[in-house]
């Protein structure tokens, strides 16, 4: 028996969203729920979940929500964390500091940041794993909406508060503009605040990671 590549999942895309405990748990979860449900409409296999080991009831601690979108049935359902993300989303800009947010990213990965600052400015704070990054995407989600703070939907229970009411509406629009992981129309059907999503889509800035890194670190 040979184990070489036996359990690889080449059709699998991973989305990791970093947020701040309590204030953005729900927004982080909404990003992966909206994107994966839209992918499900497109016939993909999906999984959306929150990091089980993070401490979501502690204010401002970094917490993670994950999504998986695959062309094949997902066999790595029980793996606790996304080990090789294709898309990384930050619900809040200071997460660029002090955390290895790009750990394990696949070549061609895209980083999406909720910030009014420029990608050129933000990239300076990211110290590790930038070599596999293809694009940096920014959107000023806070100018369009604000975070919905609720425990509804925590611990695997039903979220009775609705999906995409807060900043997640802007963030998912930015993800789609930067990656085309799902069709924007399919996404819009799922999220509560469609006007924020549309505005965010127009305002999102997408830049090539290589060129700004050359410019910034030249």
């Amino acid at each position: 028996m040979s184990i070489q590549n036996l359990f690889d999942e080449p059709g699998l895309k991973q989305i990791t969203v970093w947020g701040r405990g309590v204030y953005e748990n729900k927004e982080a979860r909404d990003v992966v729920v909206a994107l994966t449900e839209a992918a499900s409409k497109e016939g993909k296999y999906i999984q959306a979940w929150e990091n089980y080991v993070d401490l979501p009831d502690r204010i401002f601690v970094p917490v993670r929500a994950y999504g998986k979108i695959s062309t094949e049935e997902i066999e790595s359902r029980y793996v606790y964390e996304n080990e090789a993300p294709d898309i990384v989303v930050l619900t809040e800009e200071t997460l660029v500091k002090g955390i290895n947010i790009l750990s394990g990213i696949k070549p061609g990965a895209v980083l999406v940041i909720n910030s009014k600052r420029s990608p050129e400015y933000l990239i300076k704070f990211i110290k590790e794993n930038t070599e596999n990054l293809s694009k940096i995407v920014t959107v000023d989600a806070n100018s369009l909406s604000k975070s919905v703070i609720t425990l509804s939907g925590a611990e695997g229970a039903t979220d009775a508060s609705g999906i995409g009411k807060g900043i997640s509406a802007a963030l998912v629009a930015a993800v789609v503009k930067g990656t085309e992981i799902v069709k924007f129309d399919n996404l819009l059907e799922l999220i509560a605040n469609k006007s924020v999503a549309k505005k965010a889509y127009d305002q999102t800035i997408v830049v090539d990671a290589d060129s700004i890194q050359k410019k910034v670190f030249a």
Partner: protein, 396 residues
């Protein structure tokens, strides 16, 4: 048959089953990972979806005491816990089955201390395995919903009258979403008639439940409970057949077999990790290996006869224990000892190898199952089974 499929966690699936079972009394106390069941039920009660008495326990011992009293007064009662919460209530389990009160407790597994993390380990529920309760593991959110309904029906059968632990792996089943077909209220009502207690506590006709007994009353009391447990096998089979008729989902009450036709070696285990084992078996089948998976669905009562008959088809069985049983025979776990006991004096010699894996909630990985199958293959080929048990990942 009409379906109503929604994506939900094992916690939410269980809560939906509890609602459909129209329980009268719920007693909660928070601990991860089972908490999601109670927060969902609390929402259902608050939103008027479920008319039940929702009691906040002051701890797990209190929780079990509340549902003990509720069940004795004729209510269909539900509670649940995880990890050290399960063991904290230990005193109350035996009186409940001793009084033949068929209440239900959901257990979403969590490791005991140490390591005391949030991860799943079957040790918590298995500590309570011999208390006269029905016990078995769901391996998906759908099965979590189905177990809840089936266990109430079996437990409340007048031939049984015993409480039930409906177990699910913490996180892997309790928190990861799966597709769940939610039955209609009409289907559930047809399957699960209202609970009728045979000795309802009544202030107008007072009786004492749980009085002090004399030693000579002990053997008879315990023998009655033994007979109740031993009499359950037939009821399990009847109820599973009726379940399939009403809901269209057919489960073998005891064992689920996956790719076992002409298999030489199989992995034997219970709970959610079976899903990963099946993935690995599928890949190995594609490579021409004669492997399969057998998943135990009911741990108490233990299906000795069915385990013996089924496992006799194979050369080697790898038994995966997701619990700690320090000092147990062969240095593995309780599942291995049960399987070996079931195979004792069997006409056909079947080799068994124990694997202790996934402790503290670590995922049992595809690679680990692959290595287990490799061990089984070697035992099948050489007939030599020198190292009888392995602790993963350290010894394999």
């Amino acid at each position: 048959m009409k379906t109503n499929i929604k994506r939900m966690s094992g916690c939410v699936a269980t809560a939906n089953a509890v609602k459909l079972a129209n329980v009268d009394v719920i007693c909660s106390y928070p601990i991860r990972p089972y908490t999601g069941i109670m927060s969902e039920l609390a929402r259902m009660v608050a939103d008027g979806e479920l008319d039940a008495e929702f009691v906040l326990g002051e701890g797990e011992h209190g929780q079990l005491s509340v549902v003990y009293g509720a069940s004795a007064s004729g209510a269909r009662a539900f509670t649940g816990s995880s990890g050290v919460g399960v063991t904290y209530a230990m005193e109350v389990y035996s009186p409940i089955s001793g009084e033949r009160l068929p209440l239900q407790m959901a257990i979403a597994d969590r490791t005991l201390d140490p390591p005391g993390d949030f991860g799943s380990e079957h040790t918590d529920a298995l500590c309570c395995r011999d208390q006269g309760w029905i016990q078995g593991w769901a391996s998906s959110p759908q099965e979590a919903l189905d177990l809840t309904l089936m266990y109430y029906r079996i437990g409340e059968d007048p031939r049984v009258l015993l409480p039930q632990y409906a177990c699910q792996d913490g996180y892997f089943v309790s928190h990861i979403l799966g597709d769940v077909d939610i039955p209609s209220q009409e289907q559930v009502d047809a399957f699960l008639p209202p609970y009728k207690n045979h000795h309802v506590l009544d202030t107008k006709d007072p009786v004492i439940i749980g009085p002090q007994m004399e030693p000579e009353m002990g053997p008879g009391t315990q023998y009655q409970r033994h007979l109740a447990v031993e009499g359950m096998y037939k009821v399990f089979e009847e109820v599973h057949e009726e379940f399939a008729d009403v809901f269209g989902r057919k489960y073998d009450p005891w064992l689920e077999e996956y790719m076992t036709d002409d298999a030489e070696s199989v992995i034997f285990l219970q709970g959610g990790h079976a899903e990963t084992a099946k993935n690995v078996a599928k890949h190995l089948r594609n490579l021409g290996e004669k492997v399969g998976v057998v998943r135990l669905r009911t741990f108490r009562p233990f299906p000795t006869k069915q385990v013996r008959e089924t496992l006799s088809k194979f050369k080697v069985v790898g038994v995966v224990d997701n619990s700690v049983n320090f000092g147990i025979s062969c240095g593995a776990g309780v599942l291995l000892t049960e399987v070996r006991a079931a195979l004792y004096n069997n006409d056909k010699k079947v080799e068994t190898v124990g694997f202790v894996a996934g402790l503290g909630g670590a995922m049992i990985t595809h690679d680990e199952f692959y290595k287990m199958f490799d061990v089984l293959k070697n035992v099948a080929k050489t007939g030599k089974n020198e190292k009888q048990s392995y602790w993963l990942p350290f010894e394999l």
